[in-house]
Amino acid sequence: MSDRFPIELTVNGRHYALEVAVHHTLLDVLRDDLGLTGTKECCVVGECGACTVIIDGRTVNSCLVLAVEADGSEILTVEGLATAGRLSPLQQAFLDTGAAQCGFCIPGQLISAHALLARNPHPTPEDIHEALAGNLCRCAGYEQITEAVLAAAEEVGR
């Protein structure tokens, strides 16, 4: 019932060639076509940040990006943060500080925090609040999340 278009994506280092509906978002394709359900769907209007992923180094709300727009790009999702079965320092810090409560916003928070640390390895709490302001947490674990990002920054900088 809808037009389809071939695209190629590299997601978490793995290459995919697939045909997607032209009106489907990157979020739809990640979750429904690739089965990468770690990226969450909530508001679908780019306000809650649950679907945050990194496309070619930039964080985006994947609900606002058409999959065809992402053709040829490299994408990092929460599933790509751990390497060889080992949690990243950021993931470990989220566990240690109790930042992950219900956990639903956490993939988006982690991705935003990952991007922040990539461009600013030594953020202040204010930098973290600013960088993660687009990621809503109704458990409101903001203090613990900030603490986790600071701890991870220190760990990586060591």
Binding site: G98, C102, G103, I128, R138
Partner: protein, 749 residues
């Protein structure tokens, strides 16, 4: 290694899945051959349904089912936890903006959406009511016709769903003793739970039964309601409740679940409904309220009476909202010694989304006016606002509400600690203000939880629990109890939850009950195993049972000590097997009690806030936010702080920014995340401190009480008091948005 489990800030059980994206929430579960469902609604609050034309919808390729009221058993089946008033799908009339009139199921989400869009619904819009005042107007249209009200309900010709009268002492007589009477009406806004995980459910036929995966706090209540509607035995209805992406009370009771179950049975295939955030806003919300408090004081600040008239605006169907009315108002006089109290509390039906449970369960709606009135009395009498509270506060063991559980903690200690942390009595700079308020909520008044622990042959253990983990960390706490009692390392404990086919019954996950009720059941199951192994050890080692002490993970014989795991292995012998322990905790109803049961424990909280108010813009900055809770014993302090911080910030959201906005047709105009704002990382208090008072005086394991709602109970009045302190102006409506504060300052009142 494990003896430190209780009271330690151990990492969350299930935490790793949460940081890798591996945790499967309901929407993430992919069932084979599933159909995708979409709900159809109409764009007004109240309408008479004239006809529904399915032709175009059914013609969409991939659409397999277009289900309306006509396709369901007749007469329409209705359900609800208090009254069976809610239809599976709207029949004859739509009563609120967002009430589904049809469900379309299709091979793809796209086809379901297209089918839903093309369904032709003809309707006639009818006059509707969206506020307490409009609903109580004698000329108001009725939200519910008598046929769906309780049989013989004397209020059936009004929009009053209920009217409860509580009280003690003689308010009329007490009036003459009052040197000061403060009377005001306050409003609490309509707000929503806004769990980041929208509501979802999937149903699949299962032989002669059905399976359902749902975002639910009460899998066993959902099972019971489905079984009745589908006319199936409980044993044929299996409900899975995967860990929730937040719930906050909103995921307690079914709304669209029965329609999805019927769709699955009609198509013979699994059906999946993932609601949008907007639809979730239309499915659940908190009761809003308009409450009048008349408070009588002696000149020394002693309370002489409290006279309360409370109108809680519930929605078009009752859901659990009338329980919110009763629990929220029964303790309307707060944690104080008040000799004369009169409370009239009503649930008012309206053409708005159904109100349900939400964190605090009616208490924030009454703490707000009560504490604001108390401040006003203190100011008028020239008494310190902390002092007036301490003067009237119930002391431990005092029966502050006749016939109710006495004060179960040293509440003065909690209040004094909060005052100390906020530097109560120290002066503030110009433009700043300080407020302090108390909140007290009855925990569960009835309840039952069963727990089963399987102590396996290698010394590891499995706990089976019917509680839902929605972020509060229930799994972690139960694993800590098992670790502590059986000496099993945390990493060797698995907690199985959320499958009514496997785990034993738990009534529900609400009222901050789970640490206490399920915790006690877990403790009981562990003690059962300890007792069985004590017996086994007596046989194995030829010692009298009375000479053996089992403590935590250790078996003490007269001449030596063994680990519980070693005794287990010896007792099991070469065939292996397991020891199974069972525990139960229950809180029975209290005969004749006005709200059917006394408090199992109280959640008591003191919140103190410093603000700065921008006189030019009305913007309120929270400089310091202190919340101190009486937790009895914090089994996992990190998780307790997480709950308290979260409740405090959610309370600030309600108090500073959140509220539904209706247009003249009763349509909610700010559905979704763009126009309904909740706190982000940039809306936090500049400093937030959560502390707990632990005196081991709760009824739960190791003296624990429930936590998780306390820090929200009195956020609004603490903030309102701080704003009044800064500006000299009392504002009696929420939220305290910059606009409202600016206008109040402009008008000087």
């Amino acid at each position: 290694m494990t003896t430190q489990a209780i009271g330690a800030s151990l990492p969350r059980v299930g935490g790793e899945e949460r940081v890798t994206g591996g945790l499967e929430y309901v929407a993430d579960i992919r069932l084979t051959n599933v159909l995708h469902a979409k709900l159809v609604t109409i764009d007004c609050a109240r309408a008479r349904l004239i006809s529904i034309d399915k032709t175009a919808a059914e013609a969409v390729p991939g659409v397999r089912l277009v289900m309306t009221a006509d396709d369901l058993p007749q007469p329409m089946l209705r359900f609800g936890p208090q009254v069976e008033d809610r239809p599976v799908l709207a029949v004859g009339e739509v009563r609120y903006h967002g009430e589904p009139v049809a469900l379309v199921a299709a091979e793809t989400k796209d086809a379901a959406e297209e089918g839903a869009r093309l369904l032709k619904v003809e309707y006639e819009e009818l006059p509707a009511v969206f506020t307490v005042d409009a609903a109580l107007d004698p000329a108001a249209p009725l939200v519910q016709e008598a046929a769906i009200r309780r049989p013989g309900d004397p209020l059936a010709d009004t929009n009053k769903f209920s009217e409860h009268h509580y009280g003690w002492g003689d308010v009329e007589a007490a009036e003459s003793e009052a040197d000061l009477v403060v009377e005001h009406t306050y409003e609490y806004p309509m707000v929503t739970q806004f769990a980041i995980e929208p509501h979802a459910c999937q149903a699949a036929p299962d032989g002669d039964g059905i399976m359902m995966w749902a975002t639910t706090q009460h899998p066993y209540q959902l099972q019971k309601i489905l079984a009745k509607l589908l006319d199936m035995p409980l044993s044929k209805v299996r409900v899975f409740a995967p860990d929730l992406g937040g719930a906050f009370g909103g995921k307690q009771w079914p709304h669209m679940h029965p329609a999805v179950a019927f769709a699955a049975l009609r198509t013979g295939r699994p059906v999946k409904l993932v609601m949008t955030l907007e639809e979730s806003f239309q499915a659940v919300r908190r009761t809003s309220a308009k409450v009048r408090y008349r408070t009588g004081f002696r000149s020394d600040g002693t309370l002489v009476f409290e006279d309360v008239e409370s109108n809680f605006l519930i929605g078009a169907y009752a859901d659990i909202a009338d329980r919110v009315v009763t629990k929220g108002n029964w303790l309307a006089a707060g944690p104080y010694r008040v000799p004369a109290v009169r409370i009239i509390a009503r649930g008012i039906l309206s053409n708005t989304p159904p109100a349900t449970a939400m964190r605090g369960f009616g208490i924030p709606e009454t703490a707000w006016p009560r504490e604001m009135n108390l401040d006003e009395g203190a100011i008028a009498l020239g008494i310190d606002r902390l002092e007036i509270r301490l003067r009237n506060l119930a002391r431990q063991g005092e029966e502050f509400v006749p016939g109710e559980t006495p004060a179960d903690g040293d509440w003065e200690q909690t209040v004094r600690r909060a005052a100390e942390l906020i530097d109560w009595g120290q002066p503030l700079a110009e433009g700043r203000g300080r407020g302090l308020a108390l909140g007290c909520k009855s925990g569960p008044t009835t309840g039952i939880s069963y727990g089963t622990v399987r102590f396996l042959s290698d010394g590891s253990a499995i706990l089976l629990s019917g509680v839902s983990d929605m972020g509060q960390g229930a799994r972690t706490v139960y694993a800590q109890i098992v670790a502590h009692e059986l000496g099993v390392p945390m990493e060797k404990i698995t907690v199985i939850m959320g499958d009514t086919g496997v785990v034993p019954f738990t009534q529900q996950t609400s009222a901050s009950r789970s640490t206490v009720l399920m915790g006690n059941a877990t403790l009981g199951a562990c003690r059962d195993i300890q007792h069985q192994l004590q017996k086994a050890a007596a046989g194995l080692y030829g010692v009298d049972e009375s000479e053996i002490i089992v403590e935590r993970g250790v078996v003490r014989l007269p001449n030596r000590e063994l680990s519980l795991a070693d005794v287990l292995k010896a007792a099991l012998g070469s065939l292996g097997g397991e020891f199974i322990g069972n525990g139960v905790d229950r809180k029975d109803p209290t005969p004749g009690h006005p709200i059917k049961g006394t408090a199992y424990f109280y959640e008591f909280n003191c919140t103190a806030i410093d603000v700065e108010v921008d006189r030019g813009t009305g913007e309120v900055t929270v400089l310091r936010h202190i919340t101190v809770a009486d937790t009895g014993k914090s089994l996992n302090p990190m998780q307790v702080s997480g709950q308290d911080d979260g409740a405090a910030i959610m309370g600030l959201g309600h108090s500073m920014m959140e509220h539904y906005i209706f247009d003249e047709k009763g349509r909610v105009r700010n559905l979704g995340a763009i126009d309904y704002r909740i706190p982000t990382s940039k809306d936090l208090p500049l400093e937030l401190i959560s502390e707990q008072i632990e005196n081991g005086d709760g009824p739960g394991p190791y003296g624990a009480k429930g936590v998780s709602e306390g820090a929200l109970l009195c956020t609004a009045p603490a903030l309102g008091a701080a704003v009044r302190d800064a500006t000299g102006i009392a504002i009696r409506d929420l939220p305290l948005s910059p606009e409202r504060v600016w206008r109040a300052m402009r008008d000087g009142k």
